[in-house]
């Protein structure tokens, strides 16, 4: 815990830096494989849909001694061809949950009556749900409409608040999270219910929440960037990522804790809705945190580096870097290391902040986000030595 605290300070100053942006190919590959598996699973296994989508009925009868086999027989006797009977325990009762396809002519009511008679249950204690065959299509249509409207609004909002590059990068990360979450559902075979849909839709908001916080820092770090030659857009974005890393980890943990609580408590107490909802959220939030660090920002950097001003900036930085390399060895103890770093990582876009900052003459007052130059340099050098 306290180490994370120190890490926060080190990351902030650039003493420790992880090269998220520079290694983007690696992240893209990892995500690409996961996405491929997700999409493949969706294509070949598709999703297990709950009765809310496929139509049918679910009748839950409280019984202390009734068995699954007995309930199945009752369902078969009442015209259901493929009943699925499961045992559910809630805080105060044991239920047999009988799921059937759509039964014609109020068949579900007859089945409920038969189950009540069989297990001598009180009809007031019976829980039923009957869903029409076309309702699933209806709510799917509504969810998709909601999704599209949301995406358009978000694209507009992000374009206005940030810029269109950030908007595009944010949406890419969002799509990434959605596909992964839905893919996990397909892969593991979890049943998709309206609660799942709620969970997935919430991920939209959460995934972007995380991305917005990172992008806000990037914007701050890159303001006026093109007027100098201090660092490339990628380096600035990477610094921002590192500076907000502790926050990202903390917010994700804090957001996941209550979700995990639902995930573990819900099924124990028989609250199915809570379980369905929290499962989607759990996967989604985890994916969301990953994507705002490893996908959103690298994509953004890539988009920006393609623009002319940023290309020019990258050239200036490279030139300056080359010039700096001549002078640095004279003042630094770690000559060989410094040079090795520069050679090994010739592409300016790949430089992390720590390798460049010693060249920056700016004082702490000039830029609050920039690393204080003086006292830290010795240690920075040592740190670089370790690489």
């Amino acid at each position: 815990m306290s180490r994370l605290g120190h890490l926060g300070g080190d990351l902030y100053r650039g003493d420790v830096s992880y090269n998220f942006v520079g290694n983007r190919k690696r992240w893209y590959m990892i995500s690409g494989i996961i996405l491929l598996v997700a999409v493949g699973s969706l294509v070949f296994r598709s999703l297990t849909l709950g009765i809310e989508f496929s139509g049918g009925s679910v009748i839950s009868v409280p019984t202390k001694t009734g068995t699954v086999a007995e309930a199945t027989q009752v369902a078969l006797d009442n015209g259901s061809k493929e009943p699925i009977v499961t045992e559910v325990k809630t805080a105060s009762q044991r239920l047999l949950r009988v799921e059937t396809e759509t039964l014609p002519d109020n068949g579900d009511q007859k089945l409920a009556d038969a189950l009540i008679a069989k297990f001598s249950a009180v009809s007031n204690d019976v829980t039923t749900q009957v869903v029409g065959p076309s309702w699933g299509g209806e709510i799917t249509k509504k969810a998709v409409t909601g999704l599209i409207v949301f995406l358009i609004l978000i694209l507009a909002f992000l374009s206005l608040y940030f810029d269109r590059w950030m908007a595009v990068a944010g949406i890419v990360a969002l799509a990434h999270d959605l596909v992964i979450t839905v893919g996990v559902y397909s892969l593991v075979g979890f049943t998709v219910t309206p609660a799942t849909v709620i969970g997935v839709l919430t991920i939209l908001g959460y995934s972007l929440y995380d991305t917005v916080v990172v992008f806000d820092k990037i914007r701050e770090n890159t303001r006026g960037l093109t007027s100098g030659a201090r660092m490339t857009y990628s380096s600035a974005a990477n610094l921002a990522l590192n500076q907000t890393l502790v926050r990202s980890i903390n917010t994700s943990i804090i957001a996941l804790l209550p979700v995990a609580a639902i995930l573990f408590v819900g099924p124990l107490l028989g609250a199915e809705t809570l379980k369905d909802l929290s499962l989607a959220l759990f996967i989604g939030i985890a994916a969301g945190t990953y994507s705002s660090i490893f996908i959103a920002t690298p994509v953004l950097a890539q988009l920006q580096e393609r623009r002319l001003p940023m290309k020019a900036l990258a050239k200036r930085v490279t030139a300056r870097e080359a010039a700096g390399k001549v002078s640095v060895p004279a003042t630094r103890a770690s000559v060989a290391r410094g040079a090795a770093v520069a050679v090994a990582d010739g592409d300016a876009a790949h430089h992390d902040d720590a390798t460049q900052l010693p060249l920056s003459p700016k004082g702490p007052a000039a830029r609050p986000s920039a690393r204080p130059a003086g006292p830290g340099s010795k240690r920075s050098a040592q740190k670089r030595k370790r690489r």
Binding site: M1, S92, N124, I139, K142, L201, P258, V265
Partner: protein, 593 residues
């Protein structure tokens, strides 16, 4: 910079405290101390009905039609006598659905009642009587009791909303008189007939009626069984739609008036409600005239006009009540006007003692009762009270556990600042609970399981705002600022981020709320509510509190337990490189660069 902040901070906290005190005083004084629970938490039945146009029928699902359907369904539910039942429209236009809810679980009736299409028919009246059952045998006595009954039933009929005369386009004042005795004759007919005697009053009428075929006595088809059923029928109480006799168009219909004022034997359907092409409430004789009265103008389509012309021709010559026409909705007589003339062009006008309201109601029944709007039962849920209580408990336990985990983590990581998080979450919790109670009372918001889940999820999202703020403060301090300054400058930066991130959550909540149905809406509502509360708490509680705390010795001196301890924030004296936490998640450390 920080100097003027103190009084302002104090003021913010005071205002917020007053708001919370006011909210909770209201709750305790008005006695509303718990949110209104949804049916999934207290047990009950919830139906979702989707309107559609049956294949082959014309028309479209309009807001107006759906609203009318909601009204009809409310009437049907009220007839059931279920307390606290509600019917509401969700969504609009062609994607509208109707959601009906009722607490308690023995509500299969609800499902059977509401799924039906409102069915409107026009039937000639054969017999009318007062609403009470006729107990005596078919001896002289019924005619005696009958003769008194109709007079009682006749008076509410005339003065009430049931209009009497059906006239041609020219309503004459004399017609209203004709409507009243409507109930007088039928009993004579009834008492006269264990045997289906041809009623002399019908045929010998000095009518110019050319249709001789119609002169055959229509009451001839009334059987003894019908007779008995009619006598037994008790129309003095509202009858649920399900228990009403089926409106089979080719058969007689023995049924009640919908205002508990009369009962009827009706002939087979003469014109179907689907043949009505329009109906409107109008003022006869112009808007300004003093003597003008409300009428309902009724238009039939081609087939309807033909059938109606034929029927009016048959009825006009007959004696009361067989010159009356019953408008039947869902098996009950809404109105039974007297025919005043042959209507050949399909344009009829119903006049009588209408008020603006009653004429509009009747016009709506005619217009929408006949609309071929069918409903499909999309989703029907009945949840037992036991399961509801279990789910509520599960939700609360999950919420408390989630809250506890967040509190423990904040305290471990942020120490002193963690206490600020806990206090902020507490305030957010108080506000959320209070608002749920208030909204339950004022706009009927009900808390569902999905809503509880939304609230639990929002614990994390709310705490995130504090983390964004705290990390900013710590960053500022890493740049060498004192806590007092860092709180103010950090806030300026964090504020923007928090607002932007909350705006995203809000857009998500709004999009979900307006474009979805059922449980998703409940979830979106709580999510939106808690997002607003998050902003309020951060601005009016967390920030002011931090401004004040930054002046205390405990925090400003950088106590080890404050969470803003300089030795933890700035670089460490010794060098072991921190084990990168993300290593386990496959991150690449700087070493590999």
């Amino acid at each position: 910079m920080a100097a003027p902040a103190a009084p302002r901070s104090g003021r913010s906290l005071t205002v917020l405290a007053l708001v919370i005190i006011a909210l909770y005083s209201w709750m305790f004084i008005s006695g509303n101390t718990t949110p209104k629970l949804g049916l999934d938490l207290r047990g009950g039945t919830s139906l979702t009905l989707t309107p559609y146009i049956p294949p082959g029928e014309q028309g479209e699902v309009t807001d107006e039609a759906v609203d009318q359907a909601v009204k009809i369904m409310r009437d049907r539910i009220d007839g059931l006598g279920v307390a606290e039942a509600s019917v509401s429209k969700q969504g609009s236009g062609s994607s509208a659905t109707i959601v009906a809810q009722a607490p308690g679980t023995n509500d299969r009736d609800l499902r059977n009642q509401l799924g039906q299409t409102a069915k409107l028919t026009f039937r000639p009246v054969l017999v009318v009587a007062g609403p009470a059952p006729i107990t005596a045998s078919p001896s002289p006595s019924p005619s005696a009791s009958g003769s008194t009954k109709p007079s009682t039933s006749a008076s509410p009929k005339a003065s009430g909303t049931t209009p009497s005369p059906l006239s041609t386009l020219s309503p004459s004042p004399s017609t209203s008189g004709n409507g009243r005795p409507a109930a007088g004759l039928p009993l004579a007919t009834t008492s006269a007939s264990p045997t289906p005697t041809p009623t002399p009053t019908a045929t010998p009428a000095p009518s110019p009626s050319p249709s001789t075929s119609a002169s055959a006595d229509p009451t001839a088809s009334i059987t003894a069984a019908d007779e008995a059923a009619f006598k037994k029928l008790d129309c003095s109480k509202p009858i649920p739609v399900k228990q009403r006799p089926a409106d089979v168009s080719t058969k007689l219909l023995i049924t009640c008036g919908d205002k508990q004022d009369a009962k009827y034997i009706l002939a087979p359907v003469a014109v179907a409600g689907t043949n009505v092409s329009g109906a409107a409430a109008n003022l006869s004789g112009g808007q300004t005239q003093v003597g003008s009265s409300w009428v309902v103008d009724l238009t039939f389509d081609g087939t309807g006009a033909q059938q109606f012309a034929k029927t009016t021709q048959e009825l006009i010559s007959k004696a009361s009540p067989q010159n009356q026409f019953a408008i039947v909705l869902d098996g009950a007589v809404v109105s039974a006007p007297v025919v005043q003339g042959v209507i050949a062009n399909g344009q009829a006008q119903i006049s009588g003692n209408f008020t603006q309201q009653s004429s509009t109601d009747l016009a709506n029944v005619l217009k929408y009762g006949s609309l071929p709007l069918a409903f499909e039962l999309s989703d029907s849920q009945t949840i037992s009270p036991t399961l509801g209580a279990d789910q509520l408990r599960a939700g609360l336990i999950a919420g408390l556990l989630g809250l506890a985990l967040v509190v423990v983590y904040s305290l471990l990581y942020y120490r002193g600042l963690g206490l600020v998080t806990v206090a902020s979450l507490l305030v957010a919790g108080l506000l959320t609970f209070g608002m749920l109670v208030l909204l339950g009372k004022s706009i009927g918001y009900t808390l569902t399981l999905a809503g509880i889940a939304g609230a639990i999820v929002s614990i994390g999202i709310t705490a995130d705002s504090f983390i964004v703020f705290f990390e900013r403060i710590r960053d500022e301090m890493r740049d060498g600022r004192t806590l007092r300054v860092a709180v103010e400058t950090g806030w300026k930066r964090a504020r923007r981020t928090i607002l932007a991130a909350d705006a995203v959550s809000m857009i998500a909540a709004l999009a979900l709320y307006f474009l979805s149905v059922g449980a998703v809406r409940g979830f979106a509502f709580t999510l939106g509510l808690t997002t607003v509360i998050d902003v309020v708490v951060v601005f009016f509680f967390t920030k002011p509190l931090m401004s004040i705390l930054s002046r205390t010795k405990f925090f400003s001196s950088g106590s080890k337990w404050s969470g803003v301890d300089p030795s933890r924030l700035s670089r460490r004296p010794v060098l072991p490189v921190p084990v990168p936490v993300p290593k386990s998640t496959g991150l690449v450390t700087a070493k590999e660069i």
